[in-house]
Amino acid sequence: MAELSEVKATKLETNKLGQEILEILIPRVGAIVAQAMLDKQCTLVGITPSTIRKDHLEVLAQRIEHVLVIFGHDGKETGTKIRALQGLKG
């Protein structure tokens, strides 16, 4: 069923890795796009921002690198930072 909608800046539920990715993205694209982007890319990978594991980081980094280009960013630096979360404790 079609539902008409309002664009809302609701807080995205994330786990620790999801929060770290958001903190990388927000300075580049702002909070609303960062949340929408993480949510969408997780969906396309078949996970949610609350269920991101370290083994998802490579594919998410690739997807986000790809997406950031249309926002006028060279996504490589961002991708490198996301991959570096592999070393995060916990």
């Binding site: 069923m1 079609a2 008409l4 909608s5 664009v7 694209v29 702002g30 609303i32 796009v33 929408a36 982007m37 949510d39 969408k40 969906t43 396309l44 997406v67 280009v69 249309i70 926002f71 006028g72 060279d74």
Partner: protein, 347 residues
Amino acid sequence: MKPCKECGVPDIVGRDQKWSPDGTIPIPGDQSFRMGIIEVPVIKAIAARLETVVGPSIHNMFMEGKRKNARHYIDTLLKGPLGFLVRHSSSSGKKAYQTLLQTSTALGYGHVLLEVYERKKRVGGTIHNQYYTPFFVGDVRGAFESIEHLPSKGTWEEKPDSAKIMVERAEGDDKLEQRFVFKEPLRLPGDLKYTPCKTCGLPMELSRFKWDLEKGTITDVKSKERVFIVGLNDLNSVFLELEQAIGDAVPSAILDVNHERGLELVKTGVVTGYGDFVRGAGLKGYGYAIFSGNRERITLTVKNPFNKNFLLGRALGVFEGLEGTKGEASVKEKPGLLEITITGRGG
């Protein structure tokens, strides 16, 4: 360029677009490339709505979507010896830009003055009565890339009634070359009939649009609104790429703006029944629509739909406007086919 004495449509419009019985408006050089007539307030509302989510970079995205399709459009116009001449002579190059700017006037993009042209370096000028400047810069970039065979970058400075634009040769890799690409799905046949103009052969129904070739504007006489003729692939390429990036905010924006539009079309008397909606959809290139149902439940089947959320929003708004009740919609999709069913919620 001159308007038809009978229907008023400029000859250049009929030369470069064909109104097909399948509810689309393809260009003669590439049947997969379809044009459409869009209301200026609608594209502005969609861009504004997306800007609240994405920020100002939305305008660059619209420019990108436009430039690649504009390049393709111009490539199809400049095939063969004409293209060779244009691309190998400075005077022919300048003439080509001027001719293309005339075309853009006929498409309702505004009145353009070419002020700067340096072959293989830059092209620039002023557009008056602009409809949405990023789109137009995309058009000029597409022209530059087609004529000069070089990558481009574009800038613009917006003023209240005009905009200064400059397109220049870009250095380095084009990171967006493979992006903002939309492939039209399977095209289904249709038997939509128009009344041909006895003079130019275009649909007489187009006489509801009034061309002002001095100002570069097209006005829908029924709604008194400005419209323009645009590549629908251009719009879909941006919508699709952005939806893949950030998800539901994109279809929501398209749906909501067109829901409001559908309500407005009924409120202003432009649409007084589903037949108006169906005929308008074909004439504007949104697809071949068939309506069935009654006041409680309608089904709109659209062959070759332009965009699901665009049509769904509009159909829902028209239903609610005509029936005076909120509607609930469900959608079925197959390649080249969209079926929208709307049921009244009552009250």
